[in-house]
Amino acid sequence: MFLGMGTVFVFLTLLVFVTSFMSSLIQKYLPETSPEVLPTATALLSSGKNNPALLAVISAAIHAHRSSNRSNNRPSKNKLT
């Protein structure tokens, strides 16, 4: 049992180091020009209605729809060029 718990701790401790190292490397050498303002929590396993993924799809679709009214409801021309 102690071995089991020990393995979990050793593994996650290693992960802490690897993650911190990875992050510091990235922040140093690959800084993003416009990072996200805040890490946002995700609605894990939430029920469908206001699921962010669905929402993103739909709002993107609505956006695409509005910006392509003249092309007979199909934004394909924009897409392909």
Partner: protein, 389 residues
């Protein structure tokens, strides 16, 4: 007249045994808890329905298919037989769910404060204590759990449904029904089980601790993280690779932003379809012989102990880290290390607000919360490596 006799003998009333009747009531209870009390309805409603169906006498939901000498199907099997064998006995359904959970998980808060991984590790203490407890109950002759059984029961303390189901399907298929029901029930009871423990182990000053705002996390970090985790698992703990590999794959689909249509389907149609059949398949293990016995009581008892110890370990680890490092950590977020995402993080936030109405801990608690998912998958790998190997 013998037709009427046959119809009556075919009828449920004639064949019904008391055990089946009780199990149908158990199924109805799970459905009641799912609908009326909101207990993890996505799982407990299908599980409850599976429990009812499998206990309909003579309906043959678990019937094995019969093949003739030439290997052709002579009599088809029951639908729950096919669901269980194809999806749960093989481990496919829990792994696909885990891929979906990966696609729904944002590691941002964890990456902003990687030390919260220690909290996710500490909360797994409940798992291993429970294994000891199960072995002890058998040692003293109170129950009859093998080491494999004990390992599978311990995973309830991981507060993670698909992990518990995956481990049970490999180590203790007979206990799968009881273990899954215990795991999801206690996950639903997190808002009742955790707060008293959290309050008992902390002072009101500790619960008021305000944490530093989380730094922004870049998309590159979010992409590299699942890949790093995967490589570490490959190098150090291959027995955790099925669970964490699928989890990292789902998360990479999400964060890469180049396969949004796959990520969306993984988070919606695919995980929903799999959840329906996973629930029915788990319910099909709720037969009276497998559930109506002393062992189930033992499992339920050990399960709540596991949750309690996991919660306590998380809180105590946070207090210890507070002593050792300068950055303030509110010990309440340690309780979120059990996983039960995102319920446990919400509970930490709520208890924190009671002590300090301006102190929103939700984002900070998401770090240990998702760390807990990794932690229990690692613990599951350790179990499978020790017991199943």
């Amino acid at each position: 007249m013998n037709r009427v006799t046959q119809l009556f003998q075919d009828s449920g009333l004639y064949q019904l045994e008391s055990g089946q009747f009780v199990m149908m009531l158990v199924g109805l209870l799970l459905i009641y808890l799912a609908i009326k009390k909101g207990f993890e309805p996505l799982l407990l409603l299908p599980i409850g329905m599976g429990a009812i169906l499998v206990n309909v006498p003579g309906a043959g939901f678990l019937a094995e298919p019969v093949y003739d000498a030439a290997g052709h199907l002579a009599e088809p099997g029951g639908i729950l037989y096919y669901i269980y064998e194809a999806g749960i006995a093989t481990g496919i359904f829990p792994l696909v769910i885990f891929m979906g959970v990966g696609a729904m998980t944002d590691f941002g808060p964890l990456l902003a404060n990687p030390k919260t991984l220690f909290l996710g590790a500490a909360a797994q203490f409940g798992i291993f204590t429970t294994v000891l407890g199960a072995v002890g109950l058998s040692y003293f002759g109170l129950m009859d759990f093998s080491l494999a059984d004990a390992a599978a029961i311990g995973i309830i303390g991981g507060a993670d449904g698909p992990t518990a189901i995956f481990v049970s399907s490999r180590l203790a298929p007979d206990l799968l029904g009881a273990i899954a029901v215990a795991a999801y029930s206690y996950m639903a009871l997190v808002p009742m089980i955790q707060p008293p423990i959290m309050k008992a182990l902390t002072t009101v000053e500790e619960r008021r601790i305000v944490m530093h705002q989380l730094r922004p996390v870049s998309q590159i970090e979010k992409i590299i993280f699942p890949l790093s985790l995967l490589v570490m698992v490959a190098l150090f703990l291959p027995s955790a690779a099925p669970l964490l590999g699928m989890f990292c794959f789902g998360n990479l689909m999400r964060e890469s932003k180049v396969v949004d249509r796959l990520s969306d389907t993984t988070q919606n149609a695919l995980i929903n379809i799999t959840t329906i059949f996973l629930g029915l398949g788990v319910g099909s293990k709720l037969s009276s012989d497998a559930f109506l016995n002393l062992e189930t009581l033992g499992i339920l008892l050990l399960g709540v102990v596991a949750f309690g110890i996991g919660t306590a370990s998380g809180v105590l680890m946070a207090k210890l880290m507070n002593k050792l490092t300068a950055t303030p950590i509110n010990p309440l977020i340690g309780a979120a290390g059990v996983s039960a995402v995102p319920m446990a993080a919400r509970v930490a936030n709520k208890v924190g607000l009671e002590a300090n109405p301006q102190n929103f801990l939700l984002m900070h608690a998401m770090g240990p919360n998702v760390a807990g998912v990794i932690g229990s998958a690692v613990a599951a790998g350790v179990m499978i490596s020790f017991v199943g190997g």
